[in-house]
């Protein structure tokens, strides 16, 4: 019978764990700046999701509790907001996101042909990303560019009217 003490199991407290997601210092600064615009930090929630998304292209799972922590509200609320708004992406997207306006003014001016041409050119459907990770294709509601339909946005650029023949050259501009 050994009198040696059993090896002490090392207790790891939750608080000792390294944070699973840490904000980039620049993002943190931007977040704190945004929080000051509001009388309640919760209101910065969409801003913070956008800041994180700008960094990664999307909002990774591990960022949700970190955002909850910095704003002092439950993670479920952050997730509720993140999944409600269509400009927040909760899964990885391509380097460039194409948003094709599918509302009525563009529908009347050639949306069906335009969207078919883009899908054919890229070989993907709505909600998919090209295998080279270059483009994600999404529909979007009226872009307020109805005098120039059919309209689409690629990243932050609005293009319209876009003729079917212009599609290859337009996509070439985004590498």
């Amino acid at each position: 019978m050994s009198t040696a003490k059993p090896a002490q199991a090392k207790t790891v407290l939750a608080t000792d764990r390294p944070p699973r997601y840490s904000f980039h210092p620049q993002d943190r600064e931007e977040i704190l700046h945004s929080v000051h615009h509001y009388d309640d930090p919760r209101a910065a929630c969409i801003d913070v999701l956008k800041i994180v998304q700008k960094r990664h292209g999307w909002v990774p799972d591990e960022a949700i509790p970190a955002i909850a922590g910095i704003l002092g509200i439950p993670g479920s609320d952050i997730e509720g907001v993140a999944t409600f708004y269509n400009l927040i992406f909760r899964q990885p997207v391509g380097r460039h996101v194409i948003k094709v306006c599918d509302s009525i003014a563009c529908f009347l001016t050639g949306y069906d042909e335009l969207t078919a041409a883009i899908k054919k050119n890229l070989g993907i459907e709505y909600g998919q990303t090209t295998s080279d990770g270059r483009f994600t294709l999404l529909p979007i509601c009226c872009l307020g560019n109805c005098d120039k339909g059919p309209t689409l946005m690629i990243d932050n650029d609005t293009h319209g009217p876009v003729a079917v023949a212009d599609v290859p050259a337009l996509l070439e501009r985004y590498v």
Binding site: H37, Y38, D39, D40, R42, A43, A44, C45, I46, D47, L49, K50, L71, I73, D77, G80, V81, F84, Y85, N86, L87, I88, K99, D102, S103, I104, A105, F107, L108, T109, I140, C141, C142, L143, G144, N145, C146, D147, K148, G149, M153, N156, T158
Partner: protein
């Protein structure tokens, strides 16, 4: 189209745009074109209540679509020493009504005009903070508004003691992250608070309990930018702008989209006829196309026919014809379109953009889309017309939490009224169906 000479007297919203020569308006240029003189006048000569009264007397109606008088909306805000210290003004710049592209123009071309208007209305309501709730896709407008705010701050128009009045406010641009429903005033407030954009029950009205439970006024961009000119030139002048075309006051940004010769936005006397907008300003339909029907002011307004073109585009006249003026930007549907496909596109939009908060809207709209799709394919079933008619009642005013679903029913009910035959053609008759089954 006759050349329109814009003057400060006739085009209060857009007269400066002619002087821009493509240059973005900076603060100095804006100041040299009467910029901030309305704010100076108000603070020097008028009490906040005077500003409110002047706008009320001018009969400025909300330009976001509902047409509610701005002065009456403001009159519910508590004023005086007993009023809460925190009060908010929110500019609804979430322009997402399909077919609408007027606020984009006002913000991209004349950011300082909106900022002066917001400070002026902020003074009238003695707010502590103001936000421009801007849709996320308007990146150019966001940049220009933020630059303009920085310039206004540096020049002392935004401070804790604006022009020595002893009153001050802060102004921020808040960019959204999508979803049409954010344009609904109480959903917008929830979104601004960092929540899902579900609408809130009214009452209490936002003017009493809005953003963070404090008095809040939400006004559309175009409504706000009318205020500086009203303060400078008075309510009687503002009423005369409609040139007797309408009992409504002021000018209106009208526009045209669809397959017309010249799409665009024009500032015209309120009450201008739809025919003048289509034929003179938009140059008529494109060659080889006829007008089948038109939406007066966005996706959530009832269709009207070519025979309605001579109606004055104002709230009451279009209302009496069974539709709504809405945002005043007309969408022309040409004769080559399939009306069922057009309605299906509209309803798909509303179904996707439903926030899901209340059942009639969340479940009723996708159902409507499915039925329309089957009619579009020529596979509609007997009873589908009755089902769609039932939907227009069950999703209509008073049956849902907010105006989203009732708005969605407007183009559907009017299309069914005017183009019943087209719908019926898409329905497989009972005998034929029996044969197929048999």
């Amino acid at each position: 189209m006759s050349a329109i000479i814009k003057s400060v007297e006739t085009h209060p919203l857009t007269w400066r745009m002619d002087k821009l020569n493509g240059q973005l308006l900076d603060l100095k240029t804006y100041e040299s074109l009467e910029g901030f003189s309305a704010l100076r006048k108000a603070i020097k000569e008028m009490s906040p209540q005077d500003v409110q009264q002047t706008v009320k007397d001018a009969n400025l109606r909300g330009r976001g679509g509902a047409g509610f008088p701005a002065g009456i909306k403001w009159s519910l805000v508590p004023m005086g020493d007993a009023a809460p210290k925190q009060k908010y003004l929110v500019c609804n710049a979430d322009e997402m009504e399909p077919g609408t592209f007027k606020d984009r123009l006002l913000m991209e071309q004349l950011p300082h005009q909106l900022i002066e208007a917001m400070i002026l209305v902020g003074y009238a309501l003695q707010v502590s903070k103001a936000y421009i709730f801007l849709r996320g896709e308007y990146v150019v407008a966001a940049e220009r508004l933020n630059n303009a705010i920085a310039e206004a701050k540096a020049a002392g128009y935004l401070s804790d003691n604006i022009l020595g009045s002893g009153w001050g406010m802060e102004l921020f641009v808040h960019t959204g992250a999508g979803r049409y429903i954010c344009g609904e005033e109480t959903a917008l407030i929830n979104s601004l608070e960092g929540r899902r954009a579900n609408p809130r029950a009214k009452p209490p009205f936002p003017q009493v309990s809005g953003l963070w439970g404090k008095p809040t006024v939400v006004n559309n961009v175009e409504t706000l930018v009318n205020v500086p000119a009203i303060i400078l030139r008075g309510g009687e002048w503002f009423k005369s702008l409609s040139q007797g075309k309408s009992p409504d006051a002021g000018t209106k940004l009208y526009g045209m989209s669809g397959r017309v010769k010249r799409t665009g936005v024009w500032e015209l006397p309120i009450g201008t006829t739809a025919r003048e907008i289509l034929e003179e300003h938009a140059g008529g339909m494109q060659d080889g196309l006829d007008l089948m029907c038109w939406l007066p002011g966005g996706a959530s307004t009832d269709f009207l026919l070519p025979e309605h073109l001579d109606l004055a585009m104002d709230y009451d006249t279009i209302g009496k014809a069974g539709s709504r003026m809405g945002t005043g930007l007309i969408m022309a549907v040409d004769s080559k379109q399939n009306i069922i496909s057009v309605v299906r596109n509209l309803e798909q939009f509303f179904a996707r953009e439903s926030c899901g908060w209340c059942t009639p809207c969340r479940d009723g709209l996708p159902w409507t889309v499915k039925v329309l799709q089957s009619i579009e394919r020529g596979e509609g079933r007997p009873g589908d017309m009755e089902m769609l008619e039932q939907t227009t009642r069950f999703l209509g005013p008073g049956k849902t939490f907010c105006a989203h679903a009732p708005g969605a029913m407007e183009p559907l009910q009017s299309a069914m009224k005017f183009f019943r035959g087209e719908f019926e053609r898409g329905i497989v008759d009972a005998v034929k169906q029996e044969e197929q089954v048999g």
